[in-house]
Subunit: 346 residues, 2 copies
Amino acid sequence: MKLRPQTVTLKDIARAMGLSIATVSKALRDSHEISPATKQRVCDYAEKHKYRPNLMAQMLRHKNGRSIGVIIGAIPNNFFSDVLNGMESVTFQKDYHFIITQSLESLQREKKNLEHLTWRAVDGLLVSLSAETQSIDHFKKVHESGIPIVFYDRVTNEIKTHQVVSDNVDGTYKGTMHLLENGFSRIAHITSSKELSITQERLIGYKNALEEKNIFFNNDYVKYCAHGGKDRDEVEEAIDQLLAMKPMPDALITASDRITISALAILKKKNISIPSQIAIVGYSNFSAPEVFQPELTTIHQPAFEIGRAAAELLIKLIETKRPPTKFEKRILPVELQVRESSLRVR
Amino acid sequence: MKLRPQTVTLKDIARAMGLSIATVSKALRDSHEISPATKQRVCDYAEKHKYRPNLMAQMLRHKNGRSIGVIIGAIPNNFFSDVLNGMESVTFQKDYHFIITQSLESLQREKKNLEHLTWRAVDGLLVSLSAETQSIDHFKKVHESGIPIVFYDRVTNEIKTHQVVSDNVDGTYKGTMHLLENGFSRIAHITSSKELSITQERLIGYKNALEEKNIFFNNDYVKYCAHGGKDRDEVEEAIDQLLAMKPMPDALITASDRITISALAILKKKNISIPSQIAIVGYSNFSAPEVFQPELTTIHQPAFEIGRAAAELLIKLIETKRPPTKFEKRILPVELQVRESSLRVR
DNA sequence: TTGAAAGCGGTACCAT
DNA sequence: ATGGTACCGCTTTCAA
């Protein structure tokens, strides 16, 4: 490509004005040791010639590039894209950049992404663990080297830092309770991989509701997707197993956007009618669940808020000189939106 | 935060091995002027101590940070998130990073994003114009300064460079023709802002189909959304106007994911039944349009491929020394997926 | 074959 | 108030 024309530098300004580089630098940074007159002249000149400090040079000096790295499951996923949107709303306003990497639920990619991001010298990390992740030593190492991390959604307690999650226990509790109160009792649960924090929390809510209603917890009703429902096959297998059970479950709680959508499509393909043969309550952040067939009862997470809060906490962590002694786990409320798919038909 | 511990640098290696910085640098870059023995020793040491060249320093030297900037309408949008996914598949593999900015269909944000990205010294840009954009002088300036750009989806011919789009003319043509052949003749079209390339192309396909069937083109059947259907209100207004017409349209072609989903939700709210009162064919990249009520006939764009092709072309542009004399406009085929929402009910 | 030294564009300390 | 200068980590002549 054609050579990038040098944008105007400190040196250019210094030469043009017969000042030293140091003076110009200080003038532009509004140092007290520069006379107002000089400051004015320098700033005017800089303004006129559209001076922009060279980011690389600044970064090279005091390692801080106003950028944060994000590790996310997958971009094309309603939940995550809302999260990203929330993060962007903060980073845009605070003049940070966020560099997005997808784990695609693979540990190997997660590690590679992490390497990449640290090499990029990001100032901090926003991380949601992949479905495959068990050991988090790779994050520990990075964190100990001084790069602040905030975990969101899929979190870990093994690293002492901020966390932002939605109230997963409550979400599944509400969903399950709603189904129970509508006369469903054989409630299946298709969820992500066993190791994830969200999986465990959601299972707790599920069990709590059953217990409260004195319904026996049947472990066979819980199906895990080792890859978080990345492929439809994973979900189809789970559904096949559930449909083969006797008695067959009469309701289903699906634990993520992907799993929910896949489940709807698969049940449709199999001509299982919802909710008469099986009712559904699904975690989903789709913008218009009322246009599904049937209208879908959803557990809606404040994805945008999660992203926003996580980004805010991280930037605070980055910009604060001394690390805080106490970290917060922010738990945002979820909302059960009742629609046709979970209501008894007479 | 705690000071980031210095990762090992050239200087460290040089001192440790009693060599000069220059020699180490050359050895690591496999220069011909270094003896194999020295090379070996240096590389071993570097490997063992996990030497990673400092990106900022490299960038400062020869402006190339292996990063590309993306301007996109909005992340939470099935079409765009698939596009991003396609881009990521390339950048990940080629060890580039992509920095995403959302225009949110606002010219002002588009400009600010552009400024931000150039300040970040990205090596190239992947751009889809915002719905508000008319003059593209801001891009011209950047492009003339030597930063390669590839336009995708919403493109412009005013800058000589590669373009990647889907076959918009054909998409709407197919959709319109399909409706006509199914007995619908008063076909409305809700689309994005007038200025966008996609809007114009889609309108051509629509007109072509009408003309071919000798149907009168009624300008009042075409409703523009100045903000690309960002808000549901915009779409609702268009629909209200259409419903108030006499005779009312009997079919509708919606020109984007957002518009399509909004239209479905609004018509549902208004208790207009699809397709008996009005049929719908919608541009959409939703992963499971068969779970909509009714199953939605879609014009499906190869969003992932668009992203992939655009990223590939851009990286080629970045890495090639001499700019090509001829640029290509890659037009990827779209697919009409016929489902219930566009079929005559008897 | 190896190394000294001059940048790249800023920042910051120390003189003047 | 202003300027000289060393340095951040790496690349690249040019000498040795």
